[in-house]
Symmetry: C2
């Protein structure tokens, strides 16, 4: 429903995000979006032409969230363990703020892998990874951490942060926890996951 202070365009974008992240490109209906926005379906087309165009906008926004700030933290000139703590904190906080986002992004990339290309080239992934790789190699040489590939480490960090949100309904059901308990558990993971990772690579 359209709120005060909100332009029609914004209202539609909000409704579209809700519909697309919940049901995906093929599952969401233009009528759903119009209803959710409290307007006529033709008006959605008036502002955003086609379903694909609208979806493209939403996907771009959500994809941006997926990587937002991450590059900054990963490039920061701070010790590795401290960096890991920051990445985990940031990642999990992002998942808490936008819980539907990761599954949506993963899903649509999996249905149409081509769209990731144009999104990724907007970000300078190579230099971010390169920088991280250098730091990891140095710590290995210094004998501070075990011999692990920077890419593996990065995958592990992201797995531990993102997966519990992506698989939320399964986690909730298997663990037999309610919404509140689940959210509390995710918050606890900010500290626990960082510790877990640092423990896993630290040489004592």
């Amino acid at each position: 429903m359209k709120k005060k202070n909100e332009t029609t365009e914004e209202t539609i974008l909000l409704a579209a995000r809700k519909a697309f992240t919940r049901k995906g490109l093929s599952g969401a209906r233009m009528q759903d979006i119009a209803d959710e926005a409290g307007i006529n379906k033709a008006l959605v087309h008036y502002y955003f032409e086609s379903k694909e165009k609208l979806f493209g906008l939403i996907f771009g926004q959500e994809f941006g969230k997926f990587f937002s700030n991450l590059a900054g933290v990963m490039m920061a000139d701070i010790p590795l363990f401290e960096k890991i703590e920051h990445i985990v904190e940031l990642d999990i906080e992002r998942m808490s703020q936008f819980p539907d986002m990761p599954l949506f992004v993963i899903n649509e990339i999996s249905r149409n892998p081509a769209i990731i290309m144009e999104q990724l080239k907007r970000l300078d992934v190579k230099s971010v990874i390169g920088n991280f790789q250098k730091q990891v190699k140095e710590e290995i040489k210094k004998g501070n951490i075990i011999n692990i590939g920077a890419d593996q480490l990065l995958i592990n960090i992201q797995s531990l942060c993102i997966f519990p949100t992506v698989a939320k309904p399964m986690v909730k059901n298997v663990m037999q926890v309610n919404e509140k308990q689940y959210l509390a558990m995710i918050q606890r993971r900010k500290k626990e996951v960082a510790m877990f990772i640092i423990n896993a690579i630290k040489i004592k």
Copy 2:
């Protein structure tokens, strides 16, 4: 296309699995399934009545794979570290064999959380988790591992095993690897992830 030795029913199920795991319930078309099976669309309805019925069968099968054997390994009477190695090995092997399965299952559960209930009550999740919990607590008391919740440990294990497959297109693109390199990396993770986890909880 229908192969020799395959009953029409099996052919349809194979085609349906392909369509549903690739495109989801709403994205897959009955005509796609019929085409893939090389038969008339009405024949699909002749054997499986409705799209929902057919989908239900496929989902049940895939959900089964998701947990197959896992319970057995988790209940086994072997040391914790060895058990972790087995779980990781089994999990990642399952991901390699059915790469489309985890995203499909996660996705459809997320779209319709109710379906997980009836599936889960077929499995005795509670006693499996209870058993694992007991073993973890004992190891903590013995001072062999750090103080960690069994549920957190289990989530971490599953995250590290499942996520890289779920996010395959993203991983491939960010890491700039081809299909062959990606698959090799997943295989390497059978050993590396187990080590990573054991390192993370072991008290040295």
